[in-house]
């Protein structure tokens, strides 16, 4: 594992978590997309088998978002852990076609968003308006393509050096 694979997952998730609470000037109807961005990073790095991403970092990223947004403690931590579990299960599915990958990604985002909506509804003991969640999921899916491209570009040099490293075993 290179330093990129070791540091990039944590840095990107923490960075996107901070970005989620900055005042971007987005309408409250569209703000739900921001906490979904760390989920995209969690999903990406969970699929990357070389990336170092223990579950406790995911937990602390969610907890940090809960603290900074002054929302119920544990909510985003739980949602991010669910995203991690979804990513782990998806990593076992072999999909090579680009369309298939996007379909799996969309399904994963939908699963996590539905869970986020259910958890929030359970917290308030009533069914919340699902439209901001749906809107956030759609925008998150679009932004995912950009984020994955950025991660891919940041990750590429690490892959080459890792492949050339010689290791003695036994």
């Amino acid at each position: 594992m290179t330093w990129r694979a070791g540091v990039l997952p944590t840095l990107s998730i923490i960075g996107l978590t901070f970005a989620a609470v900055l005042p971007w000037g987005l309408s409250s109807n569209y703000r739900f997309v921001l906490p979904l961005l760390p989920i995209v990073a969690i999903y990406y790095w969970t699929l990357d088998r070389d990336g170092w991403l223990p579950e406790w970092i995911v937990f602390f990223a969610g907890l940090m978002l809960d603290i900074l947004t002054q929302g119920p403690l544990g909510y985003w931590a739980l949602v991010y852990l669910v995203a991690y579990v979804v990513g782990v299960y998806v990593s076992r599915v072999n999909v090579d076609a680009a369309v298939g990958k996007i379909a799996v990604l969309a399904a994963a985002i939908v699963v996590v968003t539905v869970f986020a909506w259910l958890a929030a509804s359970a917290y308030f003991l009533e069914f919340l308006d699902w439209t901001p969640y749906a809107r956030g999921a759609v925008f998150a899916l679009l932004l995912t393509i950009l984020i994955q491209l950025a991660f891919g570009m940041a990750r590429t040099p690490g892959r080459v050096s890792a492949s050339l490293r010689l290791t003695r075993r036994g």
């Binding site: 005042p23 900074l68 002054q70």
Partner: protein
Amino acid sequence: MTRLNDDHRIFMRGDQRARGRRLRPLILLLMFVSAALMLLSKLDHSMLGDLRWQVASWMTPVFQTAMVPLTPIREAGRTIGTQVGVQDELAHLKKENQRLGSWEWRARQLEAKVANLEAIARTIPAQKLDFVTSRVIADSSGAFVHNVIIDAGSENKVKSGYPVVNGDGLVGRIVETGPHSARVLLATDLNSRIPVVVGPNAVRAILAGDNSAEPRLVYVPDGAKIGPGDEVSTSGSGGLFPSGLRLGAVADNARQSRSVKLRANLDRLDYVSVLFYDDLSAGLGDDLVNRKPENGPAAGTGSNTGNDQRSGP
């Protein structure tokens, strides 16, 4: 090279490649802890609230640093947004300017009349409010809360309960303060309750946030006439806010005639001003309680902290 790469991966991580990541029991523990924390939050445990705000206060320098590159990005976005609708906006402003021109003349007349009447009646002048202007450094608006964090705190004399305004009117109030930051509960938050007066009949009501963009009017007296477009401003009841701070107008939507369209765009707050407004009646209750009958009617008049700020003409 590609083949070497693939061979290396197969040799070193071939079993992992087939299996993918594995879930460890730790994740179950973390999920349990998350659910337990949610439950404690639901029960509104005070320790959690204090701890949360402490941590958020420590993050203030990070947010302030992050605002340096963010500000030009926001400005660029705003410029693009303005350019898109600039023609419509210009026409709207011309029309509004024409309308306000006649109102300005009328307002000056009324101002002079009020000043004369106040002088005749020896009215005590209203409390002059000092204020501090601060930048919004974090926005936590979401499904659960609608609040922002500003970079002015107790070291800038900001206290809990102070009203927060911007150029368009009331935005919310301070609910927590740290040395260099404070949390503002926005008027749209589920926990926000603001005593207001509505329309020309000055109907008293409470403006209750519900985490939507348009808070609702509740506790409206039976038979009160409230129509779309009626101005909504603070009533000053309860002493939480000074009276006369404008909030918005009753929404046009007939079905939701009790919702209010706020003048301030709470999604795009840049700078806000914290009014140093102390409830003048706060110390009044203590004075009345401590007043001894044998001291006569003059008892307690010299010890009121709130009324010291008022002076005669």
